[in-house]
Amino acid sequence: MMKLNKTKIGLLHTTIRGDEKLLIEAAQKRAIDLVLIDVREQIFDPLVEKPQLDVVLERCVSTVKGMHAVEFYESIGVPAVNPLSIARICENKFATSLALVGHQVPTPRFALVFSEEQAKKAVDQIGGYPVVIKPVTGSWGRLIARVNDQHALEAVLEQKTMLGGPHHHAFYLQQYIEKPGRDIRIHVIAGKVVAAIYRASSHWITNTARGAEAVRCSIDRDLEKVAKQAGDAIGEGVLGIDVFETSNGYVVNEVNHTMEFKNVVRVTGIDIAGMILDYCVSVARE
């Protein structure tokens, strides 16, 4: 009888969060050989032999470190979940929005400009005040500003221009969407919609990292459709999609490529970690 080798998955990480601990537990249950690789301790030199891995799972809390690590492993022939092609779209909100629009996925109006003068024109173009200004890279609702009028726009842009590095001088503007005190985080793994939560908050920023409460969300047909559309626009992988409810239906706000999921597991009981590992195994076998 032929003996099947265990799949060897490299878990690329920086600090270990509750999400990574769920992955470690799930690997033990599945008899998967999960190798913890703290990217902060690696020397990414392609001329030095690296441990044999079937696939790497990128779970770095730092986007920059995670993307460089994936770039390295893909270059030496180790497939990654998520691949660099997905990370490059998701780590940049402008690239994400362009991909969504390019695939006819409903998303808030947006524009990217490099000057205050163009920003004022862009606000009119995308529907007027209020608008949201976001850094093109970033997460957890950091450094995003709701701008209610032109005075606030001028102040925010002056701050960004004077204090920020070059990447803060690309001004991503997005139509402000009035939410019903919550948004939706929905997970798509290998093209399948697997779980969703509401993130409820009285604040207009509804990230759980900013104190929003995770509440179970049942997935109706329209929500499933828009999540699948967004997943198709970004590429097959492990995705966390942020969706707003509007009077005109669901709109996709952002897509995350190293999604946190412990709150989804806690609220829904769905084994997201196991699904991610199963997907890694299927990628390794391709």
Partner: protein, 59 residues
């Protein structure tokens, strides 16, 4: 496992399931700490002050 906070010197227990690179909180001063080493035989863990949240952190 037993550990000691490098900030306030408090000694306290952390779960046996703790992993290297995991972030924990000091039971006394509540500062965030990162586990940097585990000695299973002596049931001790070494910790250091956790890295500060950087601009590219998130999901």
């Amino acid at each position: 496992m037993q550990t000691q906070c490098p900030i306030c010197d408090a000694s306290f227990e952390i779960p046996a399931s703790s992993e290297v690179a995991e972030i924990i909180s000091c039971r006394e001063c509540q500062n965030k700490l990162e586990v940097v080493g585990i000695q299973k035989e002596s049931a001790k863990a070494d910790v250091k002050e956790a890295p500060k949240v950087d601009e590219d952190w998130g999901e």
